[in-house]
């Protein structure tokens, strides 16, 4: 007789990082595989909540890309350095909110995800209209976990 674990892959991946799973985050994307992919946006959100550049950067593959304003960062170490400085400076006390709009699997181990969201600055309670963004994420499976290959955000005006 075979048994399946009562703990989903997403729950396991989040627990390993010490992150409380937000069951509402998934919206309509509730297959096990979709949820596992969506651990990455949740972990990035947590990296912001903690203002922790290491926690943030460790979600990327080694040659991951992040577009932050004018900076095209093209490796995990560049991302680590940029975000660590950012959380000590212009992003101090800032956090993000976001939610999935679309998920598509381009290969068994490559997911294309679109989210809506934005940065919430200290003292703000929600995303200001001028900080609303649409983001495209490429999330790839590496071993047991999903990792972030590319994140790009574009402003959408309200």
């Amino acid at each position: 007789m075979t048994t399946t674990s009562p703990v989903s892959e997403a729950s396991r991946l989040l627990a390993e990082k010490g992150v409380q799973e937000d069951f509402g985050f998934y919206r309509e994307f509730t297959s096990e595989k979709e949820k596992a992919v969506l651990t990455i946006p949740q972990l990035i959100k947590e990296g912001w909540a903690r203002n922790d550049g290491d926690f943030f950067a460790d979600n990327f593959v080694e040659n991951g890309s992040l577009l932050m304003q004018d900076e095209q960062l093209t490796s995990r170490e560049q991302i680590r350095e940029f975000m660590t400085a950012g959380f000590a400076g212009i992003y101090k006390g800032a956090r993000v909110d976001g939610w999935p709009l679309e998920i598509r699997f381009l290969a068994d181990d490559v997911a294309f995800v679109v989210t809506q969201g934005g940065i919430i600055l200290p003292g703000e309670t929600e995303i200001a209209p001028q900080r609303e963004i649409r983001a495209v994420w490429i999330i790839v499976k590496r071993g047991d976990a999903w990792k972030l290959m590319s994140h790009q955000s574009s402003p959408v005006k309200g």
Binding site: N63, L67, Q72, T74, R104, L106, A107, V136, S154, G158
Partner: protein, 150 residues
């Protein structure tokens, strides 16, 4: 210039658009942005739409176009209106092959309005192309641009 030398000059110019990625796998990924650029020069909405996958998406300003047909009708209207005579110019910034059939191309460039020779300071964007080979042909899954402020 004779027709032949025009063709050669044109081919040389287009070859230069491959930038640091002239060959092989990365060059294959880059053919997708180059097709878009080429068809844009002809303001050919159908040809650009046909580069996308059937469920491809394109973010223009705050309009998220979903599917090849939405892209087609938006571009048709744009090329008949504000984008008439415009070109799309860009240089490859980064190319990544994720699997045999999935790639990412990141470029820096923007929309060059009719009659202009270069991008204005506020017109520069970073574009990310997600490309997917389907039935042997590289197609565009997602095209999104982010403004560069400088």
């Amino acid at each position: 210039m004779s027709n032949a030398s025009k063709l050669v000059a044109g081919a040389k110019q287009w070859a230069s658009y491959y930038g640091d990625f002239p060959n092989g796998e990365e060059g294959a990924v880059l053919t997708v942005p180059l097709r878009v650029r080429g068809e844009w020069e002809r303001n050919d909405a159908d040809a650009i739409a046909d580069v996308f996958t059937e469920n491809g998406s394109m973010l223009v300003g705050d309009t998220q176009l979903k599917g090849r047909e939405e892209i087609r009708s938006y571009l048709k209207e744009a090329f008949a209106g504000g984008w008439k005579g415009s070109k799309w110019i860009e240089e490859p910034t980064e190319i990544k092959k994720l699997t045999d059939d999935v790639g990412i191309a990141i470029t820096t460039g923007g929309l060059l309005p009719a009659g202009q020779d270069e991008l204005g300071p506020g017109d520069k964007v970073r574009a990310v192309y997600i490309v997917h080979r389907q039935d042997g042909e590289w197609r565009l899954v997602s095209h999104q641009t982010s403004p560069i402020k400088n």
